[in-house]
């Protein structure tokens, strides 16, 4: 049994991914740099000089950052609570967390359309109890996108953090308490630092997911575009493949950049070394 | 007559030689152990014999046929794994019958042979259970039964007892030896536990860095290690590198600086080419020295440096003019630190090694 056959096992899959994924992606990247007259970064220069595009890019980045921060703030205490539960309750709560994750994003975004619309559940309740007179305009605004994205990605951060928190040895917490730390002190000084790697992974998942999400902004977003719907519009509605390709490359670059930066951060902050 | 031979085998892993110019001959019906520290190549040798890996160079002859390139599944060798390797999805019966089914044995015959072998390993009544319902020792016996039932030409054990607790290990090795002798199956047994190897083997091969240092029956190895590595490995902790070695009147005279030692040469001691004397801590004689004591023959003056209590005896490290020696001694009144002592090297306890 030589090593050759190991590669033989991998060959079909690698070949498939190369032909149908890597080659198309690299060709897409290539076309943004090469025109009839050779190598050029003209397309990108135009892009970054263009306030319209930069507006879309920054809106998307802003929405993604806010989504990530909200998800962490909502997800962290919940993960802590869940990880403290007994095995049966924990399993049940995890199932409840995972369930939305496996539900179609179309369904989840649509459910928010029912809730935050002018005639939606939320406005009906608020006007019903007399808190407001005019219904709030939430649907078709960036706020709506953020709500939808938090709903989409919050489970990811919860389960990632629960996974990390489960691996914190209980002895460590007892030890900290025996050294005189209060419950809150234990949480801040021991639990939080030990969760950093999980927090980073979770943040990557939420940020990258928000940055590239299509369904939620397409359904809940209004006149303001985000980068993924902008790519779609250029590719399909405007048939401008040059611009679509540049947007695609920028999306890949931002994604890769964020993942590598966060990984560096994770290595630096990891208290376990 | 030898059953199989490994000739000039070389195996390398990541460009590092694990075995090089490796030779081994094993006789039919014998239980041969490969013993050595981890990384010495014993498991590699066993896996090579089994066919799980192939040598870069050299030949493997089995019953005078070239087996070098024969795949595992065509070899008809039984292999018993360290971690049992039972099929978790099959019952004990199906685990044992696995090899027989592949050999297209008839149903009734399978039934008979499986029950028979379960009887041999004392596991009657377990055939309907699944591996996870068995204890470690029981699993190991199933693993042995599964390897035995195919009537293998060769039985291979890879540290089969290392996952069992001490008591079970002792009874299992007796069991293995009993079965092997009853059935007369040639067996290669790998372990890093000396006691285990010595107690069950016809022959033991002590390996180091991909080479067999000594292949002999256990008693010979125990008494007459042939190399410094073997001696050290089996508990000879004290070594003296002599300047000269001379044979005289059935005795050997050794010199180290100003000191002269004499050791008995009996029939079994073959090695007099070596210049290193070796002796076990248990065999050195130690006693306190009073001011007037002269140096006895085969003796040295020294001073106690370290004392450790071993339970049954005390262990001392004694500093002498030609180096430090480790001595075990049962004594009511232990020697104290810095005590002047006399060491004596009994004539018939020191051996010469390479």
């Amino acid at each position: 049994m030589s090593k050759k056959y190991i590669y033989l096992l991998l060959l079909p899959g690698v070949l498939f991914l190369t032909i149908f994924m890597l080659v198309p992606i690299f060709m897409t990247m290539g076309t943004t740099f090469f025109r009839e007259d050779g190598f050029t970064v003209e397309g990108y220069l135009q892009f970054f000089k263009d306030p319209y595009f930069m507006g879309i890019l920054f809106t998307t980045l802003r929405v993604s950052v806010i989504t990530t921060i909200i998800s962490i703030f909502l997800g962290f205490p919940v993960a802590y609570f869940v990880s403290k539960m007994g095995p049966r309750k924990k399993a049940f709560l995890l199932l409840l967390t995972i369930f939305p994750l496996l539900t179609s994003p179309v369904v989840r975004s649509f459910s928010w359309m029912i809730i935050i619309g002018k005639n939606g559940v939320l406005n009906n309740i608020l006007t019903g109890i007399g808190l407001i007179e005019e219904p709030l305009s939430i649907l078709y605004t960036p706020t709506a996108i953020i709500i939808g994205l938090v709903h989409l990605f919050l489970p990811l951060i919860i389960i990632t953090l629960v996974g990390v928190m489960e691996n914190i040895e209980p002895d460590l917490l007892t030890a900290a308490e025996s050294l005189g730390a209060s419950k809150l002190g234990v949480f801040a000084k021991v639990v939080v630092p030990l969760c950093v790697p999980g927090l980073v992974i979770g943040s990557i998942l939420v940020f990258v997911g928000s940055f590239t999400a299509y369904t939620t902004p397409a359904l809940l977003g209004g006149k303001q575009r985000v980068i993924s719907t902008f790519l779609y519009q250029n590719a399909i509605t405007l048939n401008d493949w040059q611009v679509a390709s540049i947007v695609a490359v920028i999306m890949i670059v931002v994604t890769v950049l964020v993942i590598s930066l966060m990984n560096v951060l994770a290595k630096k902050l990891n208290p376990r070394g | 007559m030898s059953l199989f031979t490994l000739e000039n085998i070389a195996v390398s892993y990541n460009k590092q030689h694990v075995l090089k110019d490796f030779n081994l001959e094993i006789e039919k019906g014998k239980l041969v152990s490969l013993l050595g520290p981890s990384g010495c190549g014993k498991t590699t040798t066993l896996r090579l014999i089994a066919g799980f890996l192939q040598s870069d160079e050299g030949k493997f002859l089995f019953q005078e046929k070239d087996y070098t390139k024969v795949p595992v599944n065509k070899r008809n060798f039984g292999f018993v794994f360290q971690n049992y390797a039972l099929f978790p999805h099959l019952t004990i019966f199906d685990n044992v019958a696995f090899g027989l089914k592949l050999r297209k044995v008839g149903k009734a015959e399978i039934e008979k042979r499986v029950m028979n072998v379960l009887d041999i390993v004392n596991l009657q009544g377990f055939e309907k259970r699944y591996p996870k319902e068995l204890s470690g020792g029981q699993k190991q016996r199933v693993a042995i039964a599964r390897a035995l039932v195919i009537e293998p030409d060769l039985l291979l054990f890879d540290e089969p007892l290392s996952n069992l607790d001490a008591n079970l290990r002792e009874s299992m090795r007796v069991e293995i030896r009993r079965i092997q002798q009853e059935l007369g199956i040639t067996t290669v047994y790998v372990s890093h536990d000396q006691e285990e190897c010595f107690s069950i083997s016809d022959q033991v091969a002590i390996m180091n860095k991909g080479v067999i240092e000594q292949l002999s029956d256990p008693a010979t190895i125990y008494k007459y290690p042939s190399t410094k590595f073997v001696a050290d490995f089996i508990g000879f902790k004290n070594f003296i590198d002599f300047d000269t070695v001379a044979e005289r009147e059935g005795q050997i005279e050794l010199k180290k600086g100003d000191y002269t030692f004499v050791i008995q040469k009996d029939g079994e001691m073959k090695n007099i080419s070596g210049k290193t004397g070796a002796i076990r801590p248990d065999n050195l004689q130690i006693r306190a020295k009073s001011a007037a004591d002269p140096l006895p023959p085969n003796g040295l003056f020294g001073q106690v440096n370290v004392t450790t209590f071993l339970g049954r005896s005390y262990q001392y490290v004694v500093e002498t003019a030609i180096g430090n020696f480790v001595v075990n001694q049962e004594m009511a009144q232990p020697l104290s630190m810095g005590q002047e002592v006399i060491l004596e090297f009994p004539k018939d306890e020191m051996v010469l090694v390479d």
Partner: protein, 351 residues
């Protein structure tokens, strides 16, 4: 090793077979009758068309009609990319003009389309001789919810009213009626001729009122019935659906004038069903189909033989007089400018 190789070969062969099957089975599934006519359309009132247009046509010609639905732009682009096998395409005049300019359509043999004689002259060949006729003329006007809008809306200008902040939608510039609304903006700026800069300046002023642009009119209907918007410019043919959801909805022809939207049918170049496609166009223009869709308030008729009662004609673009009163844009001009407009629209308005 040999066995392993063999099994890998078998695996990869399986994979290939599977891939082949998937593509075959895909088309086979739809291929119960002999021929297949692929029709690219909006998907609006699909049930009506399925029952009253496609089914009878399928039966008569023993053909299976397969639909590709979506907005004008997306569907035209699929034809541009040349991988859609579409035979017949329904497009508004604005998009059809692009298709003509890019040589995407077959010339039509007018002798094969006998019903052409029965329709309005303006509808016979709005894109030029030999290209597809308009099967309906719609009016682009304003709809509003009378329950929510206090001052009745009568002019385009009324949509700029500050009371409507965050309460209207406008057509996206990439949709058919987008340029028409831009023209309306130019008109209310006071300019007689179309003035691009002034039009965009006016557009900028209306944006605070806009919740979301719509790419497809059904989105308008959707937002209107959900209360997300209370008014907006829309084609008259969709009014029936608005009224269904909001009984007090009103449709008006603005004082500055409504616009004519001609929806055309064309045969896509390279179609292997040219004959059948022309029969289909002929069928669309037939008195029978035109009358049914008029009475269902789906499409206003272009066939002059269709006679409607006053009630039936409400909200329909019915009668030569009305048809002639509608403003028509020079689609060639629109086409030339559209790239610039889309660009300015995106840059200046959507922020």
């Amino acid at each position: 090793m040999k066995k392993l190789l063999k099994s890998i070969l078998v695996m990869s062969a399986l994979t290939l077979v599977l891939a082949a099957c998937s593509s075959k089975e895909g088309s086979k599934e739809e291929k119960e009758p002999e021929a297949e006519l692929i029709v690219s359309t909006w998907g609006f009132s699909e049930d009506f068309f399925r029952e009253n247009v496609y089914a009878p046509f399928e039966k008569e010609h023993n053909v299976k009609i397969v639909l590709d639905t979506g907005n004008n732009a997306d569907r035209l682009n699929k034809v541009r990319q040349g991988n859609s096998d579409v035979d017949v395409i329904f497009l508004s005049d604005y998009y059809a003009q692009q298709g003509v300019a890019e040589d995407l359509f077959e010339k039509i043999d007018s002798s094969k389309i006998s019903n052409l004689d029965k329709i309005y002259d303006v509808a016979k060949a709005p894109l030029g001789e030999g290209f597809g006729p308009a099967y309906t003329i719609a009016q682009f006007g304003i709809a509003y919810n009378a329950d929510e809008v206090k001052q009745p809306i009568t002019t385009w200008k009324d949509l700029w009213n500050k009371d409507l902040a965050n309460k209207i939608t406008i057509p996206s510039i990439t949709s058919t009626t987008g340029p028409m609304f831009l023209d309306a903006a130019s008109k209310i700026s006071g300019s007689k001729e179309f003035n691009e800069d002034q039009a965009f300046a006016e557009m900028k002023k209306i944006m605070p009122n806009v919740v979301k642009e719509y790419g497809q009119t059904s989105e308008f209907v959707n937002m209107f019935s959900q209360g997300e918007i209370v008014a907006g410019p829309i084609m008259g043919m969709y009014f029936a659906s608005l009224q269904e959801a909001v009984p007090n909805a009103k449709f008006v022809t603005p004082a500055e004038g409504g616009y004519a939207v001609m929806n055309t049918v064309n045969v896509v170049k390279g179609s292997d069903q040219k004959e059948l496609a022309q029969s289909f166009i002929n069928f669309m223009l037939s008195t029978e189909v035109q009358e049914k869709s008029a009475k269902a308030k789906i499409d206003s008729p272009v066939n002059t033989e269709v006679v409607l009662t006053e009630e039936e004609a409400t909200n329909m673009t019915y009668g030569e007089e009305l048809v002639n009163s509608l403003i028509t844009l020079d689609m060639k001009f629109v086409n030339e400018k559209s790239k610039t407009w889309i660009d300015r629209w995106n840059r200046e308005l959507v922020q």
